[in-house]
């Protein structure tokens, strides 16, 4: 469906930013339903037309919680040539990458083969999305880097896809979602971590996904806002699982990025983990260090949607508890809750911390010169 949009100012409404930035969460979209077909074996075309993607939720089309905007995206982000928001490289360049001085843009494709029940289809779509990222995006604009998407519920197939892309500089990370069939620390996902560590790729864990579990520990909530706010709780639990299962003991070089789930919760979670661990460490003897130490050494956070307390001191104190070296700026373009680069950080931050926040942390983590 094409939606007719009002006239808009040239190149969107971005205020622009003078210094170069890294945007660690950009969502590239497909302009048409069959845009992926050239990358998929013929059998899957008919399969998709007949059966759909068969996910771990009931809706054949669209998400179970209707978004606040079409495709959860900005109304001013429809490309002039048609197609959904985020589906045109030239318009993304014009509306976002150029005016916002994006030096590094990390692509996190959604609606891929992740979270599908049919694992052969999941693998085929993921591999197709990875090819599509190279052909449509990263080979056409070297500022953009892809994320290797994987059939997450089939650890062995996922690891094979990661190994296939290892060393390919079109990709800077492996992408997982926070809500899966099991908590992310579970052993079924370890082949993914092993392959990512071997390839030297960080793993981005993006909020979202459906894994067949109710999205709260008390069942299914009613509203979209509950799903949105709840991403931070799902992410906390997924991170607790990763730490407590000993993933970072087993894979000591693994780095992970918590994407689009907030970061303000990190100190409280780490304190709680340490305190409870001091009582219950006998249950998890595979942990050799305090939980907070694994978090400090292995975890990064993207910033969008930026924590937004009334007092900037509260924000700064929270960031100090986490570390200025652990935050990666992100806009979430073209989604509706986009963070404007020029406005996201209040005054009162040192030049070195600003530089780390907007660009250097990301370049260092993703190994971009």
């Amino acid at each position: 469906m094409n939606i007719q949009i009002r006239e808009r100012p040239e190149a969107g409404a971005s205020a622009g930013i003078k210094t170069a930035i890294a945007d660690c969460d950009i969502h590239p979209a497909r302009a048409t339903k069959d845009e992926l077909y050239p990358y998929l074996a013929k059998r899957w075309h008919a399969h998709l037309e007949t059966f759909g993607v068969h996910a771990y939720q009931g809706m054949m089309e669209g998400p179970p919680y209707p978004k606040a905007q079409p495709n959860a995206s900005r109304r001013d982000a429809y490309p002039p040539e048609g197609g959904q928001q985020g589906s045109s490289l030239s318009f993304m360049q014009k509306q976002h990458l150029d005016p916002n001085n994006v030096a590094l843009g990390v692509l996190n494709p959604l609606n891929t083969g992740q979270g599908l029940r049919n694992q052969d289809l999941a693998g085929a779509i993921c591999s197709a999305i990875n090819d599509w990222q190279i052909e449509k995006w990263t080979s056409k604009d070297t500022r953009l880097k892809g994320s290797v998407v994987v059939p997450n519920e089939d650890g062995v197939a996922a690891a094979a896809e990661i190994r296939k892309r290892a060393g390919d500089t079109n990709f800077v990370q492996v992408l997982l979602l926070s809500r899966n069939v099991e908590p992310l620390g579970q052993r079924r996902y370890w082949p993914i971590y092993e392959a990512a560590q071997e390839a030297g790729l960080p793993i981005g864990v993006h909020a979202f996904g459906f894994g067949g579990n109710p999205i709260t520990a008390s069942g299914w909530p009613s509203y979209y806002i509950e799903e949105m706010v709840g991403h931070s709780q799902c992410q906390q639990t997924a991170l607790a699982s990763l730490v407590l299962e000993g993933v970072f003991e087993r894979f000591p070089k693994l780095k992970m990025v918590m994407v689009e789930a907030g970061f303000g919760w990190a100190p409280s979670l780490a304190w709680r983990l340490d305190k409870v661990f001091s009582r219950l460490h006998a249950e998890v003897p595979h942990l050799k260090r305090k939980p907070s130490e694994y978090i400090r050494d292995h975890i990064w956070w993207t910033t969008q949607p930026m924590e937004d307390p009334e007092s900037r001191d509260h924000l700064f104190q929270t960031i100090e508890w986490i570390g200025w070296d652990r935050l990666l700026f992100a806009t979430d373009y073209p989604h509706w809750d986009f963070d404007e680069p020029s406005r996201v950080l209040p005054a009162g931050v040192s030049d070195a911390n600003r530089q780390a926040f907007y660009l250097d942390n990301a370049k260092q983590l993703y190994g971009i010169a």
């Binding site: 520990a217 709840g230 906390q236 639990t237 304190w271 709680r272």
Partner: protein, 358 residues
């Protein structure tokens, strides 16, 4: 350390039911027969395995029986020790895990009657929470109305993880009854285990279940606020028990931000989430999920932007602190008074009632 002051209200004490058979005298013939004929086991929840370190402070663990099963121990170790004027009993017996609403109803009635006889009647300082068969709204409301005649019941108790998010309209008759009868709703850590104990599925370890309590409280707070419980029941108070509270400020920043963004979805939420929390929601003190230095904690209190949110609790006999350090370091005397006396007194209206027994 920060010294407690006398006359406080300990808002989270856990008297333990020694065994399911301890409730038999409070059941009718049919249920006594069911329990014995079918060989029903004790209802111990995986949330608190009896021998888990979190279920009892080592020096509070009795030589025999379940931690929290002896009134004399509770008096000596908690009530006398911290000079409490009142102690609110929140039994964590696993009746919520039961699937049959009839069985749950019979067990809840027995549990509430047991609490009166074995605890409230034996120490004037003790007050009770009404445990409800949440499996049936009708029966839950009836049990609230039955128990509320005894003014020593000062609260209704629910678990943070049940069948559905707590804001759902399905539960509102419970909230209407509680508001009408001047009873706050206490929401305590623990799961009915009718859903996976985390929002991303079943973890491997007990420690994961316990960590996840804090996230469950967060999602429940979202549900309660956005469903409009407090727009409909403005006088209703809810108390998050054993929830932790250091997660509250960043949680509210996020909820507030999304509420501004998508409030058209829930137009009845006509006040900012932070304001709703300030007027309607309270938190028990223990556990304090923060580093031991007073500095960080005082910053966290500053982030909470209110000194009225926290209610004193020992969480007896659970292991949340050692020695006499029930209050974290660095709290001002003014804040100690608020936490121990003023805030609980303002929350539990029934504490002021002189005529306590029906």
């Amino acid at each position: 350390m920060t010294s407690p002051i006398a006359g406080g209200v300990d808002c989270d004490l856990h008297p333990a039911v020694p065994h399911l058979t301890s409730l038999l005298p409070y059941m009718n013939d049919y249920w006594r027969d069911q329990v014995t004929t079918r060989g029903m086991m004790d209802l111990i929840s995986q949330s608190y395995p009896t021998n888990s370190p979190i279920s009892s402070r080592p020096d509070w663990r009795p030589a025999q029986g379940k931690p929290g099963s002896s009134l004399a121990d509770m008096q000596r170790q908690a009530l006398d020790k911290f000079g409490s004027a009142y102690g609110i009993c929140n039994p964590l017996y696993g009746v919520q895990m039961v699937f049959s609403e009839d069985m749950a109803d019979a067990f809840c009635r027995a549990l509430n009657d047991w609490l009166v006889k074995e605890w409230l009647d034996k120490d004037d300082r003790l007050r009770g929470s009404i445990v409800i068969p949440v499996q049936s709204i009708e029966k839950a409301v009836a049990e609230i109305e039955r128990c509320a005649q005894d003014k020593r019941f000062v609260q209704v108790l629910m678990l943070v993880m049940g069948d559905m998010p707590l804001g759902k309209r399905h539960y509102w008759p419970i909230y209407a009854a509680a508001e009408r009868l001047g009873l706050p709703i206490g929401i305590h850590a623990g799961s009915a285990y009718h859903n996976p104990p985390t929002s991303v599925g079943w973890g491997s370890y007990h420690i994961e279940d316990y960590i996840a309590q804090a996230q469950a409280f967060q999602t429940q707070l979202t549900s309660l606020i956005v469903e409009g419980v407090f727009a409909r029941h403005p006088a209703l108070k809810m108390v998050m028990l054993e929830s932790g509270f250091t997660w509250l400020p960043p949680f509210l920043w996020r909820l507030h931000k999304f509420w501004r963004g998508v409030r058209m979805e829930t137009p009845w939420v006509d006040r900012a989430p932070l304001e709703i929390v300030r007027s309607n929601i309270r938190f028990s003190l223990q556990p304090v999920d923060a580093p031991p230095e007073g500095d960080t904690l005082n910053r966290l209190f500053d982030h909470m932007q209110s000194d009225e949110l926290i209610l004193f609790s020992t969480d007896y006999p659970h292991w949340q602190f050692d020695g006499d350090d029930v209050l974290p370091k660095g709290l001002s005397q003014d804040l100690v008074r608020k936490i121990m006396i003023d805030n609980p007194q303002a929350t539990y209206g029934r504490l002021k009632m002189k005529e306590t027994t029906p």
